[in-house]
Symmetry: C2
Amino acid sequence: MPTSPPTLADVAERAGVSRQTVSNAVNNPGLLREDTLVRVQDAIAELGYLPNRAARNLRTRASHLIGLRINPVQEGTANALMDRFVHSLVETSGAVGYHVMLFAGDGENPLAGYDGLLRSTTVDAFVVTDTYLGNPQTAWLAGRRAPFVAFGRPWDDPSAAHPWVDVDGAAGAEMATVHLIDKGHQRIAWIGWRKDSFIGEDRRSGWTRAMHAHGLSTTALACRVEDTVSSGGEASAKLLDEAAPTAFVCASDTLAMGVLHTLYLRGLAPGRDIAVIGFDDSQVAQVVHPGLSSVRQPLEELAVEVVRALEGLLGHPPHVGPGVLLAPTLELRASG
Amino acid sequence: MPTSPPTLADVAERAGVSRQTVSNAVNNPGLLREDTLVRVQDAIAELGYLPNRAARNLRTRASHLIGLRINPVQEGTANALMDRFVHSLVETSGAVGYHVMLFAGDGENPLAGYDGLLRSTTVDAFVVTDTYLGNPQTAWLAGRRAPFVAFGRPWDDPSAAHPWVDVDGAAGAEMATVHLIDKGHQRIAWIGWRKDSFIGEDRRSGWTRAMHAHGLSTTALACRVEDTVSSGGEASAKLLDEAAPTAFVCASDTLAMGVLHTLYLRGLAPGRDIAVIGFDDSQVAQVVHPGLSSVRQPLEELAVEVVRALEGLLGHPPHVGPGVLLAPTLELRASG
DNA sequence: GGCTAGTCTTGGATCGTTCAAGTGGTGCCG
DNA sequence: CGGCACCACTTGAACGATCCAAGACTAGCC
């Protein structure tokens, strides 16, 4: 820019008041008399004044920046939750004066990035998203008394006192299963993740719950595999041979794509011959033929709740509310 | 955090030197004698000192933050370039001391966000990504002398002097077409976007170039439609009926998914009966059965070039290099 | 001894904002 | 009329780093 932006002093001079009065006009308009407030606001508008972030940050010891660590894209899977979540997070946090700053995950030492940003007071708080397995980050951050909100429950430590927001995966799987039962299916298979995945077990429990609630057996109808398309394909082939299910509920769209593949190879029509429901409502589910039904996470609302929790956390005095659990929805397409 | 982080003065006291010396140790290590440098660095390590960002930003009039505007996810399409690009951008810019800050796009007035961030000196520069159609942002930013790097050529103003990085879409389409020709195809159809899309026309020109270079006619083999799956499906059905192509090259994976759908409905096998190649190498292309060949943009290298341009732009003195055009690669799968 | 170069210290100003204390003016009350 | 409270605004001092200029001390060299 040609000239440096106007400062408080410039506005003050123009409006014929002191710097502090301008500051108050911006931060505590209620303190000013009506006519001076208008005068100052006019001067601000004329000069196009906006407070200098760095100066404000220095003085208030806050950056109004939220740190979010992002992980490498997993190629070859259908996972793309973050896109929707991040966008919504940026929008809602922007509305209350915060910006989202990204930093890269260092694979081996997940804490390094967090530590530096804290010590340099670059961010006010974090949003921690990858809490799928045990989560050293959350424990470490909590120990440092660093403000953060987790997307994901503290599975391995129910006594954890940090704010969190999560999606009720069990309810999602249950919803999908009940939907299939209502359509007349009785032998509904489950393809999920390895047993050490809390999220996977949670989703699985929804399937179990729905089956048992309707007096249906789950014996031999479940398996746990890696989260890849081919694993989903192999698992569904095996299940079809050994347990003759008429429907599949999967822990992810990636697995569900594997099931669709198997059906295709066997000349079975998804939805008509065998029903399939995935999880996450990825772009893949939306675009693939003939359309993959999927459990959709309410990531937009989730971001809203995250920001709400952040506001509490960074408020004066800080306030930590209880964890928030949101219900997913079921997006029905031709496959189920 | 319990106590406030250490400051320059704390380190100085501990190391038994002056503040200035500590500052030099951090910013101009060459000025110090070997042994004192070590002593200061030890003190820094022991206290876990990191310069306060806000203070440094205020003094140096730089935030070391790069602004990136993100747009809402387009549901129902296969477009997900940003994920890979953003991750790579965060990594490479982090390596040279910059962080990426996101802000939301206000649909109607794309400039509002940029303006505020500039005036409040929140960011040092922008990365502008959505330059597909005429780009008011770049013109406006250039007019304000705001530093920015564009992902995308200045199509409508070749004389524009701002740094940019782009992928050679024509080369990508040409590569795909030549590949199909090499495999024996002669009637290769093109399904692209509306004529007012510069990127679409660029990619299309690659197809035309390859066809003509091999003495093949393009007559009646091309059409331009909206970027949706159904448009791709309808376009391919019409082309199959009227022009009997044996292969399709598409301007996007979204369109290619529509082609796959048509082939499926007609009992034609992708790759064996009719070849299909998409564009962008989206997750959908990677996951769908039987695998969609696609032109892959080198987003990782692209981010590296963007950061290189940013470094030049923000250096002393600023330096603007010529635009950089990167070649895409061809990811072959069963469909072609 | 005087000169120079290298290394570090010292004190101060500066960036632009907010905080804490202070100033003057007015109204109310005993 | 002195005193107190209150309003509306002003004043000086922080926040923590960087930048600049001037000075001090040592060592090496002629």
